[in-house]
Symmetry: C2
Subunit: 205 residues, 2 copies
């Protein structure tokens, strides 16, 4: 759902998007491409990784490293990887816990596993409808970015601005992903509280 939502928005604002999946002909990816016109296509994770100038990781956080391994280190080498995933572990029941947190994060795990990739953690702190349409939430609110490469972060910030984001807080290097991923437990509570109505974090300052 996150990948389809981001992919559709990227197509709408003029990008070419290839949706990657484990199989070359994933049913949902085929359907997504059919509904999104000539600039939308699909293929394996490796196909999508090789195709993209910028790569979005929209997989479930607990399988992101496996999916990126299938994507292929060579196919993402030197590229900006926008990591939208959260390491939510539903295996122990509800509410989910984080499979990594506190002294490490998924963003850092990905950066360590793929040191030649420019990982930018972004957009993991809001519903995907809000990611691509920030005006759904009333008033001022914030997106966060972090990562080790300033140019990659600047590129991610430009993409976020093209989605409509006006306030984007740069939290520093990729270790700040601990902080944004650890927002998920309160996010899930709020999601229940507001009955799935759009909301987002704002840092009042």
């Amino acid at each position: 759902m996150v990948g389809a939502t981001l992919g559709s928005k990227l197509v709408q604002i003029g990008h070419e998007v290839k949706m990657g999946s484990r199989s070359a002909n994933n049913e949902k990816a085929v359907e997504w491409a059919k509904n999104n016109g000539a600039h939308a296509s699909y293929g394996t994770f490796a196909d999508a990784a090789a195709f993209g100038e910028v790569v979005f990781n929209c997989t479930a956080g607990t399988v992101s490293l496996a999916a990126l391994t299938l994507a292929g280190a060579g196919n993402i080498k030197g590229k900006v990887l926008v990591d939208v995933a959260n390491p939510l572990d539903f295996s122990k029941g509800m509410p989910p816990t984080l499979s990594v947190c506190n002294s490490d994060s998924l963003g850092e795990q990905i950066q360590r596993a793929f040191p030649n990739v420019k990982v930018v953690k972004a957009l993991n702190t809001m519903n995907c409808s809000v990611m691509v349409e920030p005006s759904l939430v009333p008033g001022e609110h914030d997106a966060f970015v972090c990562g080790n490469d300033p140019q990659a972060k600047a590129q991610a910030v430009e993409i976020l601005k093209s989605f409509g984001w006006r306030s984007i807080i740069d939290l520093g290097d990729i270790t700040a992903a601990r902080g944004t991923e650890m927002l998920l437990p309160i996010w899930l509570r709020l999601w229940g509280l507001y009955q799935h109505n759009p909301f987002n974090f704002r840092i009042a300052r």
Copy 2:
């Protein structure tokens, strides 16, 4: 610092406050009481716990259970305990990690250790200057409360309102303390980013 700040505010708005410490004559507690007039006093943790109708835990999170044990289960039995502490562990260097998180929290540990106490987790997500003077932060912003006892939460909410809080979000039972304590890693990043200027979380909705 948190205890002194909260204590002074409580005295200012008409309460009697006894500051508890490990020793009966803690130098800082004596100094605090001297500076805060006739309604301010000091004593051991047990003295303070016995004295208070409502008890605030403003100790360092990693020693809160030890401090509350010194306070004495009998002295806090049946009372509202507002838990302001965060389980920040500085022993492994900077940034601190949380000594408990993800599938548990300090708030829950305290509630389990003292089942007859009505624990309300509150005010642990902002600087102590903001706790007692929310108008220091511009615009709308939020305080969070959680706990198992609705009446205890209502009492904590009244105290927060008397501090000037206008928006107080009830996150549900004490397990929501996981979410508010896990805000600390991003809070610490923002604290560095905003050069210690007042800020706070807002849930835009």
